[in-house]
């Protein structure tokens, strides 16, 4: 005769999952804000050396005032004999000349020029303002850096950047 009906079955009530999308969206937005898109997967092996007090390139990236070029040993060892010192440049496929994107250092001039000419006119910073960021492997010979500088000097792209891994924190 009790007023409270005792539930006879021992079922666990289903969990309310209506807030799950909110949580996942929150994660999504966090990752959208905190990360940047990959430029490309280079076809050369690059381990950047460490350096302190370097400049953050993100603002230049957001303004598309930067081109990345990778310098290292080709991932395909058979290709390395064709290049000076065995180190090749990996450029994105603007020139469309070979499928694996490996080029000799002298090719950086035409590549940069083609990339610059392909940009829409409204976002045209002058070519001497567009940074060429060289991501070189730590074992790469410095002579190649100067070969690249010579090529860039010819097309008057005077702003160059040497990429490093940030070592300021001293954690690793």
């Amino acid at each position: 005769m009790s007023k409270f009906k005792k539930s006879t079955r021992g079922d666990v009530p289903g969990m309310n999952t209506s807030s799950l999308p909110d949580i996942v969206f929150m994660l999504l937005f966090f990752f959208m804000v905190a990360t940047t898109t990959k430029e490309m997967d280079p076809t050369v092996e690059v381990v950047s050396p460490k350096g302190t007090m370097s400049t953050d390139m993100t603002p230049y990236k957001q303004r598309s005032e930067i081109d990345f070029a990778y310098l290292g040993k080709p991932r395909n060892p058979a290709r390395s004999s064709q290049f000076k010192y065995g180190y090749a440049l990996s450029l994105d496929n603007v020139l469309n000349e070979n499928p694996d994107g490996l080029y000799a250092t002298a090719q950086i001039g035409p590549w940069k020029k083609a990339k610059f000419d392909g940009k829409p006119t409204k976002m045209l910073a002058p070519i001497e303002e567009v940074i060429t960021c060289i991501k070189a492997d730590k074992t790469a010979p410095s002579g190649l850096i100067f070969d690249i500088r010579k090529e860039l000097q010819k097309i008057e792209a005077f702003k160059i950047a040497y990429a490093v891994r940030d070592g300021s924190s001293g954690a690793n």
Partner: protein, 249 residues
Amino acid sequence: MSKRSIPEINAGSMADIAFLLLIFFLVTTTMDRDQAYIRYIPKPILDPRPQPPVEERNLLAIKANSNNQILIRNEIVDMENISEKVLRFYQANEKKNEAFEFPFYSRTPKSVITDNIKRVEKQLKELEEQDAAEEFIVAKEQELDGWIGKRDALALYGGDVLPEISFQASIRIEVSNTTQYEVFVKIQSEIEEAISILRDKEAKRLFNTPYAVLKRKNSLDATGMDEIEKLDLLDVLYPARIIEVTPKR
């Protein structure tokens, strides 16, 4: 009209869609920021005449050979100690010109700067009246800009004299063709560290702001005008004139 109830939309798949987007962004993006040292390649020299020689005390020659050993002013130096040498190069004569093997400082008084601005402005006007050749006018305009820059720097610096390191003082990096990139970058890193220490000290003293903050603010601004005056002053006080020599062998 009978009241019809609208059936609720099933939002159960919303989480799945959001997960899909999340995983897409996780895969296509990277967390690490790109860090680099920005350098300027000099314009090609078209003038075949030899350049005037630079006094030895105004040059800090840093050399690296193919065995990754470093030589500064004919002295073998450990890689970690490059920044100390750079600091010494800038600070040796900062208070008083007493060390003869390091670049001298000039202390230009305010009156000299204002006099020079007046003088150059007058000369520029004369040149324009005479219809002089374009290159003379451009050279004069550059001279005028230089003095105006010094006036603005001094106004921000405060006081009556602007201490300036010799205009020839520069750091010269000479590597060999087969020096590893790691060593080349280490030299750049050490120079940057030394200059940052010097500029940071002045930035904190003058503007109560760390140098890194000023730099960051400036790079975030597309027009680059935000903190440019302060950065210009620091650049006048401790100029980073880095010469990178193309290796011959």
